[in-house]
Subunit: 423 residues, 2 copies
């Protein structure tokens, strides 16, 4: 009971700390903390103040990731990483990313000075949302060594490059390579706690989700081209209505997704031209976003929908153009870590719920180099990227319990420690 | 043969004159001639120069309608009106409206001084398109006496009222009442030649259409309100997708129109919010334009589609709001005049094609006061409101033949002359 009480207090503190960090914002009255913005520095300073008393060191690497190291029981021990991101979207909630940095600090606190056979590095990534440079994962890309010169040249709306932003923050772009994981770090794996940002756990009534994979994603833009004609003088049988064609296709997109387990397919953007009440649309441009844990399923859906768009267009005497904007492979989480997480969730008294992350996360990038896993926390109402974003203190309590049990499991698993990855 | 040759020459001249008037434009390089714009004055002067040698008088009334009077064989004879509008949309073609003013002048020419038992008033209406004041039919409304103070106060984009525009053109708003038809004018009826502005006659291969009615029109705006959610993290079964709902409904709009003879229904404008690729639409606003010759059929379709929108919304856990923006009754053409036009079309060697006008025309306004009819000329490709708008010289020849035969029929019809309307 005492232990449980203790974890609940820690959970309450985690939530309070997320709310404290929410005050470090570029906007007054709402949360916005983009890559290397001034409030990010205050955020780092605040967090560093929390970890120092726990016996952890902290530093900011050359891309602005806050890297906190809790030592192992022996020198030269391998390293376990736990983290998430500290940047936010505009008008954000307090938990997306931030919770996954603050919660592992609570785990360090709960260890109460006890050392494990591996170091624990808690990482607060500087950039995941892609807001400032329309380029997500700047922080985690640096860790896996994929932040190349091309990316560094990208500019924000003010024409400032990533390289320049790094310099302006007082960091040295020449040291980016040193931010990457090195072989001698012997990284065992990466675990990320993150709010689900979706309604699934809330809907099934489970506090914690075990992420098996991060879905692959296709993004396309389609344009149906027909003929703009007078809405009054053109009989139905003589029309080449680009919006009616688009509507027929949108219906098919939805049906395909509904009939394919785990597939999500979304048309979120649409533009009809000329867009007048009394003119039949001559052109309709629309977006398609398709995600699934299996690339074959996703690709088959995309192929089917592109073919269907061509059939719809042909049948109606229109043309259709399709442009692929993104084709991102699915990223499976590490099988061993996933089963360990599942056990830990069970031991924490929750029925584990295996699921796929429909959104990208830092774990997706880290998985390129090290075994990675994610633990989702139920998001009430699925509401995220919104000031109303929340977490339940009970769920955070269970997540802390789960995290501690996971660390203990890994500490006692010789199998895990043999799996040391040489990045 | 000589007569036919003569009509073809007149048709060639009609087309050339339409092209001459096209030069009087507010824009260089394209046609735009809005209500009481400077080129309208040049247009009036040019046309007046054409009718004077034919023995017709011309004047500009207080709303800028050009009114040309060809006398009858006797004083105090009733009056037959023939006309259309002289204003244009931006980037217009040369024939919409203009042809219906120039062609009856060719009829006066073909009469070659011969007088009929009625006066012929050719009217070039100053405003039909509604471009400058977002208010159509300013010219014809003055003739039926419905141009009230409310309308006169409407302002254009520069804040100039209709009243002020009339004054600026050198006309006197106090004389608007005198522009209206008076009882003592004993108007027998109004006939309008107009390009079809649609593809129907071209599609069935007929040069001339006999308009039986001008369709009634409903315009609505609908808004489906669902929930904006993450396109990746929200499973299909937990969505409240406002764009998917709209697409389902657009399909039903099209099916209803396809299955109802003569009905046209169009969704031409659509806006999805937030309108991002990776966000499920939380709100979708769209327009509906429904037209039919029978108001009951149109109203039944609108009622059905509104109910269906509510069903679609309910089924998907959304709300829908519907706002009626326009509910304009159908206007039947005068039965006697329609049958006379049909006979005249036959005598001109064309198989008559009865049809409904899906667009509004001055004849719709005139029909409030006097028997009215319209004759459509085939529009190649249905292309109108576009510089590529055209007419075939052969079709104009047949229209002139039809017009002359119609005048002769009406001149010899004691039934028609008994029908004199006291406006």
């Amino acid at each position: 009971m005492q232990a449980s009480r203790d974890k609940r207090d820690r959970a309450t503190e985690v939530i309070a700390r997320c709310q404290t960090l929410a005050r470090f914002s570029e906007d007054s009255g709402s949360i916005r903390r983009t890559f290397l913005s001034p409030p990010m520095r205050e955020c780092h300073r605040e967090i560093a103040g929390w970890v120092a008393p726990l016996g952890a060191t902290s530093r900011v690497d050359a891309v602005g990731n806050l890297r906190m190291l809790y030592p192992a029981e022996n020198a030269d021990a391998p390293r376990m990483m736990i983290g998430s991101h500290l940047d936010t979207v505009p008008n954000a909630g307090a938990y997306d990313g931030v919770l996954g940095v603050v919660l592992p600090i609570a785990l360090l606190g709960a260890l109460n000075g006890r050392k494990l056979p591996f170091e624990i590095e808690v990482v607060g990534f500087s950039e995941e949302e892609g807001v400032r440079f329309s380029t997500p994962f700047i922080g985690s890309r640096a860790l896996v060594g994929s932040l190349d010169e091309d990316l560094l040249r990208r500019q924000d709306a003010q024409g400032i490059s990533i390289r320049r932003a790094i310099e302006d923050f007082g960091l040295n772009p020449a040291e980016i390579a040193q931010a990457a994981m090195r072989d001698q770090d012997s990284v065992l794996g990466y675990v990320e706690f993150h709010i689900e940002q979706g309604p699934v756990l809330d809907n099934v009534g489970r506090p914690l989700g075990v992420v098996e994979a991060i879905a692959g994603q296709s993004r396309m833009e389609l344009t149906f081209v027909g003929h703009a004609n007078h809405a009054g003088t053109t009989p139905m049988n003589l029309r080449h209505d680009a919006l009616a064609a688009a509507a027929e296709w949108i219906g098919a997109v939805e049906r395909r997704a509904l009939s394919t387990t785990g597939l999500v397919a979304t048309v979120g953007a649409i533009q009809a031209k000329p867009g007048a009440m009394n003119v039949i649309a001559g052109e309709t441009r629309l977006s398609l976003d398709v995600r699934h844990r299996h690339d074959e399923t996703r690709n088959a859906a995309v192929d089917y929908l592109v073919q269907l768009a061509e059939d719809v267009a042909k049948h109606r005497g229109l043309r259709v153009q399709c442009a692929v904007l993104m084709d991102q492979r699915a990223v499976p989480m590490d099988t061993f870590l996933v089963s360990q997480v599942e056990q830990a969730v069970s031991k924490a008294g929750c029925e584990p719920y295996r699921m796929v992350s429909g959104a990208g996360h830092d774990a997706m990038i880290l998985a390129e180099k090290v075994p990675a896993a994610m633990i989702f926390l139920r998001t009430p109402g699925g509401i995220s990227h919104d000031p109303a974003e929340s977490v339940e203190v009970g769920d955070v309590t269970k997540a802390i319990d789960c995290g501690l049990r996971l660390l203990d499991q890994l500490a006692s698993s010789s199998e895990f420690q043999r799996k040391t990855t040489h990045a």
